[in-house]
């Protein structure tokens, strides 16, 4: 048996990333300690090459490996987002790992393996490939979450993430096996035709759909499947937390939207109600519980749950059968826009958290930010911008993201949902701006004698500058990203 060259060319970016990951893992033991940083730069180079290839593939739509894999603008959109986020995470990790004294270059290998899993997820046209991609991503992330081996909290995060991640994969797989029984194939297209033949009330289909909702619900962390998120995000090394909160969520959304729109599109009337309920529960719990948090990583974890809730508004709009197809596409493109914007601002916020030091330790409590504005006005200003953007206040990108989502909801006759989400956005302003208040209004506690400061390094400046530029530029001029998302959605039918 030979693999056709055209198929291999179609998944060239995935091959590059996977090969780079293996190379990094293999080169790690033979690289002398002072040169280990080169492997990180090598990984960045591979990402840049893939970014170029995928941008060239942007308009292309092809299937490969007898329809197991699809390359379309939708997949390319997510891939470009994933490259950007992974590149920034690698830069952030270079500074963070040095500060935490973790001298293990396997880190970059696992990061790239997780990335290749995510890329498979977003360009999968078959439930088998989606499952494989999800597992590759998850297994790498379990390891990454426990990378601070001397820290009990990191190991605990890894253990909890593993148990719940494996549990959710089991549920997802059982749903896949039932769908296979119904459709006789795991191709999304075959499932779509089986769904239209069986109709809305087939019990096996409904059960399979619910199992898939639960399985993906864990991966994108929506209430009531969110309980692992705060613990894992708090315990994992902060650079890994940023990567999980941003890239893993984006990739899971990418796979999940494709399964539910392409495969189970015929069941819109059923899953629409389900997602409406999940969306409201997620918005309420995520935003309300974030208020009482005192640890900033935990607060950002609840904030990421709440943001998944906002993104679900767009999914609900996309599933609204009474709305016309233009409105449904708008719902979908606003989910993609929102997640891209969310990625930049969350990554920015986690970067500030990762490198905030207080006497040699990580400053994780919100109190540790006290007086940062006096010591390091630039760092405090950056955190201010990211917090304002997360709260959705103009002229930042966070506002644009929410604006498009709410506009889609109003157009789909779901104005009440938009109003509800707006109210929760007002609640969220309280806990985001509390961080700003602590930075600007309060002095550092004199008893400890340790002033908070941000570790400065050139790579950190690059990460923060990219995130800041993204948040501000997209806040004022979102058109390019909007048209990219619209183009991507047109491919998904």
């Amino acid at each position: 048996m030979t693999l056709p060259l055209t198929d291999l060319l179609a998944i060239f970016p995935e091959l590059i990333i996977a090969a780079t990951a293996c190379l990094v893992l293999a080169l790690d033991p033979i690289t002398p300690a002072p040169r280990k940083g080169w492997l990180a730069w090598f990984s960045l180079g591979a990402l840049a090459a893939c970014f170029g290839i995928t941008s060239l593939q942007m308009g292309v739509r092809t299937m490969a490996f007898s329809d197991l894999v699809i390359i379309d603008p939708y997949a390319s959109f997510w891939k470009l987002l994933l490259y950007t986020v992974s590149g920034l995470t690698i830069l952030l990790s270079m500074a963070y790992l040095k500060e935490e004294r973790i001298h293990l270059t396997e880190y970059y290998g696992f990061l790239l393996l997780a990335l290749s899993g995510m890329m498979v997820m977003v360009s999968a046209a078959d439930l088998l490939t989606i499952y494989l991609g999800t597992e590759l991503m998850s297994l790498s992330l379990y390891v990454l979450a426990g990378f601070k081996r001397a820290d009990g909290r990191s190991l605990e995060a890894s253990a909890k993430y593993f148990v719940l991640g494996a549990f959710s994969s089991g549920i997802l797989l059982y749903g896949i096996s039932l769908l296979f029984g119904v459709a006789g194939s795991t191709r999304l297209s075959a499932i779509a035709s089986a769904v239209s033949a069986r109709g809305l009330d087939d019990p096996a289909l409904l059960l399979a759909m619910i199992l898939l909702v639960v399985g993906f619900g864990f991966k994108i962390a929506v209430v009531p499947f969110h309980m692992w998120t705060p613990d894992v995000y708090e315990g994992a090394p902060t650079s890994v937390t940023a990567f999980m909160a941003v890239a893993a969520k984006a990739a899971s959304f990418g796979a999940f939207l494709r399964v539910f729109l392409e495969g189970l599109g015929g069941l819109k009337a059923n899953w629409h109600v389900l997602f409406l309920a999940l969306c409201i529960a997620t918005l309420a719990l995520g935003n309300l519980v974030a208020i009482v948090q005192t640890n900033i990583k935990r607060m950002l974890a609840y904030s990421s749950i709440a943001h998944a809730g906002y993104a679900l508004i767009g999914v609900v709009v996309a599933g609204q059968v009474t709305a016309d197809s233009a409105v449904r596409s708008l719902g979908l493109s606003s989910v993609m826009l929102y997640l891209a914007i969310y990625a930049l601002m969350t990554l920015g916020a986690f970067t500030v958290v990762a490198l905030l030091r207080k006497g040699g330790l990580e400053g994780e409590a919100i109190e540790d930010f006290a007086g940062l504005a006096k010591r390091q006005p630039i760092a405090a200003f950056l955190m201010l911008v990211f917090m304002v953007s997360l709260a959705g206040i103009p002229p930042t990108a966070g506002f644009i993201g929410k604006f498009y989502l709410f506009m889609a909801a109003v157009k789909a006759d779901l104005a009440w949902l938009a109003v509800l989400a707006l109210l929760f956005a007002a609640v969220s302003a309280y806990y985001y701006l509390r961080v700003v208040m602590v930075m600007y209004m309060r002095d550092p506690q004199p008893s400890t004698g340790l002033a908070p400061h941000l570790v400065a390094s050139p790579v950190l400046t690059v990460v923060l500058a990219c995130a800041l530029a993204g948040v501000l530029v997209l806040g004022l001029y979102p058109d390019p990203l909007v048209s990219l998302a619209t183009q991507a959605v047109l491919a998904l039918k």
Binding site: Y131, A159, K160, F167, G170
Partner: protein, 100 residues
């Protein structure tokens, strides 16, 4: 000949066993075993459907799942060992450093 419903019933019972096991057992290793039972429940489904629908796809998926389950067990056991070294316990309830 054994009807398809018998396979599906066995698989459903296994899946429920695994699900309940993860939720109520407190030993990390038993939780891991329960997860493996869930995966194997799905495998039975896949192979049974594959046989009755006369499509090889299900068996191929089951092969992939077996490989992944092995990988998952490897990572899971590695995590258990590191946690055990630090805490001398495999009880899930003692993982309680992180809570609010």
């Amino acid at each position: 000949m054994i009807p398809l419903s018998a396979y599906v019933a066995v698989s459903a019972v296994l899946f429920a066993t695994g699900l309940i096991g993860v939720l109520i057992r407190r030993n990390f290793i038993i939780v891991l075993m329960s997860v493996e039972i869930m995966l194997n429940a799905a495998n039975i489904n896949l192979v049974a459907f594959s046989h009755y629908l006369e499509s090889m796809a299900g068996q191929i998926v089951a092969l992939f799942v077996i490989a992944i389950a092995a990988g998952e067990a490897a990572v899971g056991l590695a995590i258990i060992i590191v946690v055990f070294r630090g805490r001398l316990s495999t009880n899930v309830d003692e993982l309680n450093l992180l809570k609010w």
